[in-house]
């Protein structure tokens, strides 16, 4: 019998505090066949939270394409696994740590990195790269500098110490994130295909082993916090933010990989959100077995911890594993060598139940089937976003040079040097490209091939038209991988939205997923892992306003030969500059419209997936054949911003030599999709190859000189560089 005598009675208030609706609590009673005690209520609470159960999104996530010949393991495990040839696999995932990072930016961001690292090395991979996708509010918001400094320091503080290079990412600013910033962290690892580890527990009687750091009272109810909107008391939730220890994580990586080199492990799972609860429940559920844990054996950092606290703690740097019979001593020796805790805390059973004993009493006895099967699943009402009207009164540029300087200096396009200089991007000795290019490139250690990685999303497009925006996020990721010469393989995502109980927000979710799905199918980039973060709304700023829909995409591609890799920098003066793809001067939702004309209007640019596919293949062929000296995709800010970024990266100017344009501003700053800029010393061959492939190619001009100029404008590189560097420098020094 479960001991309930000492526990407080379960009142409606306690039920509500655990985040249950009336219907959900009725399902708890049905699943259990009786009233829960506090431990059981807590376990149901976290397992049925939005964060763990995906109750609002699950129905729609099922529609995403997740399969392909390159996929070894899709969604459902700790991370996605893809084939990168030679018996090797890339293992990767992206995850949010939004709410904690707003409350306590350093620890929130740091533990976000720690959590996603564990998801990857749990599966047997050595992490080889970290990326992050960050969205902040308006730079003049009173908290924002503190948040940016804290988040960047936290990401660096954790990643630098564990020795995994932080090689890329993206950062946007928009007032919609004033009360709810987004911190999405991605880790990519490499494993041998015959050494991949999964979470399904098996073997009745096998030991369940706890390794890593001790359990403390930190982070209790973090998953529940991540499943509601921010209220005025968000500051008071600081104790629910976990504290990271990257040193312990580094030891845990080495110890786990050392044990994984043997064949002692049956199953392994990290303790992430909802800690010991979700790890033990997932291991048992995935294996279709039961589990019995002795809470007295759990390594504890503090005295007098209750079973409730231990099960809900989100203390960091912990793992749970099932070992083969008789392998405990061997495993323990490895963890002792790395000065980590190691404790046998239970065993696999055949009961299909999760039973917890504490101080000689059974404090929890839950049937695992109903805990999973009766979990809430909602088909929430959703209203599609009305497509925006065509843009009226398309503006003209008064001064192309002045507009270019405005754009290069704006927060969304300013140099991110201040950020990435705080990240160790080189540790490991395999980094071939870090932040600042189209995609990060990291050599697969000891080989001549490399992984290319990028994170992408244009939230203002998603807000204006969720379906086109979702499509564009995938298409841009595809383009960024092709631009370095890599073959796009697969995608992870981090779906950040407001409250799913608002039909308009739910409509954004459904729309973005539809667009993503179409693009993933067309571009052959299945989604192999992901994470959903809802309720990104804040009452703290007095609005109850939702963030822009932000389905952040993390994509991975493969360069078969790292010798054939493209970068964005101009290499030599006197080379021809071409644009691949046709630009019709699409101004709607462009940064030029927003930054130079103060308007956030119109439809986002349309994505033609067939064009993306063909142009991507053409660019890859050019890179592989060594016919291009530089490649850059055209994205935020349009062609002239892309060209200026290439000039600044190479320290070489450019002269545009183009025909008379009806609206030069629209042509040069429009954000039409599917386009790349390339440079070459062999214009004739490129032109011929494009003709043969049926690719639209436009000669733009020539590299060289100390300025970026064309008809009616001529701006010195030094001036452009200063404009580009100014934002972070001035902001952080102010």
């Amino acid at each position: 019998m479960t001991d309930t005598a000492a526990a407080p009675a379960i009142t409606p208030q306690i039920v509500a505090e655990h985040g249950f609706s009336e219907d959900e609590y009725a399902n708890v009673l049905k699943a259990l066949g009786r009233e829960p005690n506090m431990v059981e209520l807590g376990i149901f609470s976290v397992m049925w939270s939005e964060h763990c159960s995906y109750k609002s999104s699950r129905l729609h996530l099922k529609k995403l394409p997740t399969e392909g010949p390159q996929v070894i393991c899709g969604p459902g495990e700790n991370a996605g696994v893809i084939d990168i040839g030679d018996g090797q696999a890339a293992i990767f995932k992206m995850e949010s740590h939004n709410h904690p990072s707003y409350i306590e930016p350093y620890q929130g961001a740091a533990t976000g990195v720690g959590g996603i690292l564990r998801d990857v090395f749990t599966m047997g991979a050595r992490p080889v790269a970290n990326l992050n996708a960050l969205r902040f509010g308006s730079p003049d918001h009173r908290r924002m500098k503190h948040l940016v400094k804290g988040v960047v320091a936290g990401i660096g503080g954790y990643g630098n110490c564990v020795g995994v290079p932080t090689v890329g990412g993206e950062t946007n600013f928009h007032p919609a994130y004033d009360g709810n910033i987004l911190v999405n962290a991605m880790t990519v690892g490499v494993a041998d295909q015959d050494k991949i580890f999964y979470s399904a527990a098996s073997g009745v009687g096998n030991s369940i082993v706890y390794v890593g750091a001790k359990t403390g009272r930190d982070g209790i109810h973090g998953a529940t916090m991540a499943s509601t909107e921010f209220a005025e008391d968000s500051e008071e939730k600081r104790p629910t933010v976990q504290v990271g220890d990257p040193f312990t994580e580094k030891l845990l990586i080495e110890a786990c990989l050392e044990l994984m080199a043997t064949d002692a492990i049956v199953a392994i799972q990290d303790m992430g959100a909802a800690g010991l609860t979700s790890s033990s429940v997932e291991m048992a559920s995935n294996g279709g077995v039961g589990i019995r844990l002795n809470m007295d054996a759990v390594p504890q950092r503090e005295t007098g911890m209750s079973a409730y606290e231990m099960m809900l703690s989100e203390s960091q740097e912990r793992m749970l594993m099932v070992l083969k019979p008789g392998r405990e001593a061997e495993a323990e020796a490895i963890f002792r060598k790395w000065e980590l805790d190691f404790a046998v805390i239970g065993e696999v059973t055949d009961t299909g139940r999760m039973v917890l004993d504490h101080h000689g009493k059974t404090v929890c006895d839950i049937p695992l089937g109903p805990l999973a099967d009766d979990a809430p699943l909602y088909d929430r009402p959703h209203v599609p976003t009305q497509p925006p009207e065509e843009l009226h009164n398309v503006p003209m540029s008064k001064d192309i040079g002045a507009d270019l300087l405005t754009l290069m200096a704006c927060p969304d396009l300013a140099s991110r040097r201040w950020i990435w200089q705080q990240y160790d991007s080189q540790v490991g000795g395999d980094t071939a490209q870090r932040s600042g290019g189209d995609a990060a490139v990291v050599r697969v250690h000891g080989t001549g091939k490399a992984l290319a990685m990028t994170t992408d999303c244009t939230p203002r497009y998603c807000f204006a038209d969720p379906e086109e925006g979702g499509k564009q996020a995938i298409a841009e990721a595809h383009r960024n991988l092709c631009a370095v010469g890599a073959r796009p393989l697969a995608v992870t995502n981090c779906l950040n939205f407001g409250s799913p109980q608002n039909p308009k927000i739910m409509g954004q979710i459904v729309g973005c997923l539809k667009g993503m799905s179409d693009a993933c199918i067309a571009l052959d980039m299945p989604i192999v892992s992901g994470n959903v973060s809802l309720y990104n709304e804040s009452k703290a700023t007095g609005g109850g306003s939702a963030i822009l829909p932000t389905p952040a995409i993390g994509a991975v591609g493969l360069l078969d030969n790292i010798e054939h890799m493209a970068t964005i920098a101009f290499k030599e003066a006197g080379e021809a500059i071409f644009m691949i793809g046709y630009g019709a001067g699409h101004v709607g939702q462009s940064l030029w419209l927003r930054e130079c004309h103060g308007r956030e209007e119109g439809p986002p640019p349309k994505v033609d997936l067939d064009v993306e596919l063909r142009h991507g293949a053409f660019v890859r062929a050019l890179v592989a054949a060594g016919k291009v000296s530089a490649v850059h995709d055209i994205a935020d800010g349009g062609a002239l911003v892309a060209l200026t970024e290439m000039a600044l990266a190479g320290g070489i100017g450019a002269r545009l030599d183009m025909p008379q344009l009806d609206n030069p501003g629209a042509a040069l700053f429009g954000e039409d999709q599917g386009r790349y800029l390339i440079t070459t010393s062999d214009a004739a061959t490129i032109t011929q190859m494009a003709e043969e492939a049926g690719i639209f190619l436009l000669a733009l001009g020539t590299t060289g000189g100390e300025t970026v100029g064309g008809t009616g404008f001529d701006v010195a590189l030094e001036t452009l560089k200063d404009a580009n560097e100014r934002f972070f420098r001035d902001w952080m020094d102010s």
Binding site: A153, G156, G157, G163, F247, K250, Q421, Q426, G429
Partner: protein, 221 residues
Amino acid sequence: MKAAVVQFPGSNCDRDMFVAVRDACGADTQFVWHGDTDLPGGLDLIAIPGGFSYGDYLRSGAMAARSPVMQAVVKAAARGVPVLGVCNGFQILTEAGLLPGALMRNSGIDFICRDALLTVENADTPFTRGYAAGDRITIPVAHHDGNYFADDDTLDRLEGEGRVAFRYTDNVNGSVRGIAGIVNEGGNVLGMMPHPERAIVPLHGGTDGRALFACLARTLA
């Protein structure tokens, strides 16, 4: 040539150092665990790699300097065995008393990872004979506590004895007199904050660190 790379809990440039020593020195290279009390016999080089030994808790390098293996390293250094400490390795060497001074928090407060332009000050040590005095070389830095400090007497002595091996051309971290790397009195112990093992092959974006390892091979082979 025979070399050892010491591993502490939290070392994270150990593999990079191993690869550089193996490939650029062509040395028979092995790892040595911090808990070992003895070093392998016949070593021609001991490398103390970068990272965050013991999480940089207490003080960067302070706990690692008291590891069992460091007593053996101190003895080997006294016998004249070349010891190279990079980044956290430099911090450990100062904490172990093999080199004077201390590495404080960067003057800009933040962690900094970027290329640093160095001037080779002394090209007559086992580590720097591949360069000429006055050479400008580009070597990456990646550290939070790289701001070298020592009192004026110590600094004057270092300068007077030609023990400043490298100086920052653009002082990235506020180091006193721009000092990036120093050697001990015997010239066989070098500590430096920049990472020569990150500038070995073209993939790294520069190869200016290779000469440091290559000349060790020539000197010690």
